[in-house]
Symmetry: C2
Subunit: 216 residues, 2 copies
């Protein structure tokens, strides 16, 4: 089966992306506006970019009316009306219903912290609070925003941030900075309303040695 | 526990990213050089960006000597010595050992298709072949490359591509273009040498309705 995206509605292209690009990590992004009012929203168009400098990115798409989501309005530089900072909190099993709940569209300035009951706690070097319940958080400064279709519905925006602090719950990292995946209990995003757990893990060597293991 | 990335080696920052940003989808990227010689490599710094236009991105970091990986050399525009096209093939359980094997560094021009035994098959509108064994593939044209630290070890590069064709195995998509996640059997990338399956799935509504379900 072969599809030409040019012949599809953007909503159908979106369905293909969320169904086929899986499992996606969830950035539970906390921001605040210039008055300090906090916002919290999940984004699964999210990944790490590089380690030198240490960069993360998330993609808040334009809304149906072409306007920008609150996370983008808050994360953009001060010169553009934002505060130029955001926090990526890792989404974990124990509060995944609250993550889904924070996907609700609230009026600008209304807090998803209140809606979900999650706890804002001060960050070390950026203005937006981090989520106390999260096992790990990245404090980020926005270094660049790439807009792919400004003002249009479904247009993508890449918010690129440099990590200026990493928080990890005690015991989550060992002395070589390896993560305890069981302790993290991260959750992946699948298509539609679906999520996946990360409990069913296995190791593979890189390169030819993997082939010696035979088919998975 | 709190860490300042400025005080860590970039290799340690990398360990934090791959351990904490999970589960990551795997782009099994096929490219070719100007002579048509194919290359195949897995990238988990990968996500969808937007649906209008339909964009994907993957991030091939610079190598330890600061040089560019083959996938980047091939995907960059013709004016810069590449072919300006790439294919993202979805990594699936049935050939995950071959995906790991293709992570091996081969000399430029040597083919990971030969190493792994996977089957290159012609794409519809781009030069690089797609992977026949993959349940779904995205043919992409490079629209932009963002280099975050050119020439430096560990520097990140964002290769942004517009999807010009989507291939899906018969039966994978229903008539509303929803993906059968069980048929896709995608695999996520975790920290170190670890992967996760996506068989353990659950649904959550978006917004307040999720809270009515109680803690997960």
């Amino acid at each position: 089966m072969e599809l030409d995206p040019a012949k599809l509605k953007y909503q159908d292209r979106y369905k293909l992306l969320i169904g086929l690009v899986t499992p996606r990590p969830i950035a539970f992004v906390s921001t605040c506006d210039a008055e300090g009012r906090p916002n919290l929203a999940p984004y699964s168009f999210f990944t790490a970019v590089g380690s030198n400098p240490m960069l993360l990115m998330f993609c808040p798409a334009n809304k149906e009316d072409g306007s920008e989501k609150d996370s983008l309005r808050n994360a953009k530089p001060a010169g553009e009306g934002g505060v130029g900072e955001f926090v990526v909190n890792v989404a974990s099993e124990s509060f995944i219903t609250q993550v889904a709940a924070a996907g609700e569209e609230l009026a600008f300035g209304q807090s998803e912290f209140e809606l979900t009951g999650l706890t804002p706690t001060p960050s070390s070097v950026v203005k937006p609070p981090r989520v106390l319940e999260s096992p790990a958080s990245f404090e980020c400064r926005t270094v660049r925003i790439v807009r792919t279709n400004p003002g249009e519905a479904g247009g993508g925006n890449i918010v690129l941030g440099e990590v200026v602090r990493v928080h990890a719950r005690d015991g989550l990292l060992n002395d070589r900075l390896h993560t305890d995946a069981g302790g993290l209990a991260s959750v992946g995003r699948m298509g539609g309303a679906s999520y996946c757990l990360t409990r069913d893990r296995f190791d593979l060597p890189r390169g030819k040695a993997a082939l010696d293991l035979g088919g998975a």
